[in-house]
Subunit: 159 residues, 2 copies
């Protein structure tokens, strides 16, 4: 069973999004040895400059990089990443699991992810051209991981 | 204020998704005269054939078409539609509101939308290449509508 680290920056305030993510992470337990890790979102001023945001992202990025398990294939979610269909994502995961026993999926804070984290990832994945709130990106990523693993395992969830 | 009909097929079972959608629809009230309408999802057998699914979609589609307000610019969400960024979606909405006083956004059931509905829509929009559960598609559509209208109105939500 592949080890999956679901690594996120920031906190989810909305109970509905936290509940939805938790539900898919629970279901992922059927296919992966899942762990959930969170790094703190750096505080910025009310109207942060680009430089202030970059500095905050760099600090968050350093914490994220420290939490990526050694040897894990790392997928960073970002709007400018590669768009994949569910079937393509499942096939990508199948190929990854041939060579890797650990997978790490990284989701940034409300400010996104630092360039350091994006460069460290083997795959930059875009779930949408649209900008999503990070809390919703977590839900969608957890759902797509569940959907893809279910598909690879011959499940009936994806029709 | 533009009239917005959020028209969906099927029911949402998960409280977290219903709550998340309701939250964005409430917030949309600041920018649109919003109404929410639902048509019943047709029952199918345990392992429906393609023909059975098509027949169910056609019946749902007829109900959907009957509920689209006359003269409303209609956007159908489907995976094969046009992918837009949030900024492009906002600009599209801005242009629509120049000529239309009513907008209708249609989201299918777990089986999707019939060809009739897709053809009747002036815009087929894809929020993702990935297949989403219809309950999550509702959340995402409501969030993007709120995000786009907030952006058009100079709000700070989209950063």
């Amino acid at each position: 069973m592949i080890g999956l680290t679901f690594l996120c920056a920031g906190r989810v305030k909305e109970k509905h999004f936290a509940d939805a993510t938790a539900e898919y992470i629970k279901r992922l337990g059927a296919y992966c040895d899942v762990s959930f890790a969170e790094v703190r979102e750096e505080r910025t001023s009310e109207n942060p400059s680009d430089a202030e945001i970059s500095a905050a992202l760099r600090r968050e990025g350093a914490e994220i990089l420290a939490k990526i398990p050694k040897g894990a294939f790392t997928i960073a979610l970002c709007v400018e990443g590669k768009p994949l269909s569910t079937e393509e994502f499942a096939e990508t995961l199948r190929t990854i699991t041939l060579d890797h026993s650990k997978l790490c999926v990284v989701i940034g804070s409300s400010n996104g992810l630092s360039g350091d984290v994006k460069r460290a990832a083997q795959l930059r994945l875009s779930m949408s051209k649209m900008t999503l709130p990070h809390a919703l990106a977590r839900v969608m990523a957890a759902e797509q991981l569940y959907r893809a693993f279910n598909l690879l395992n011959g499940g009936k969830y994806h029709k």
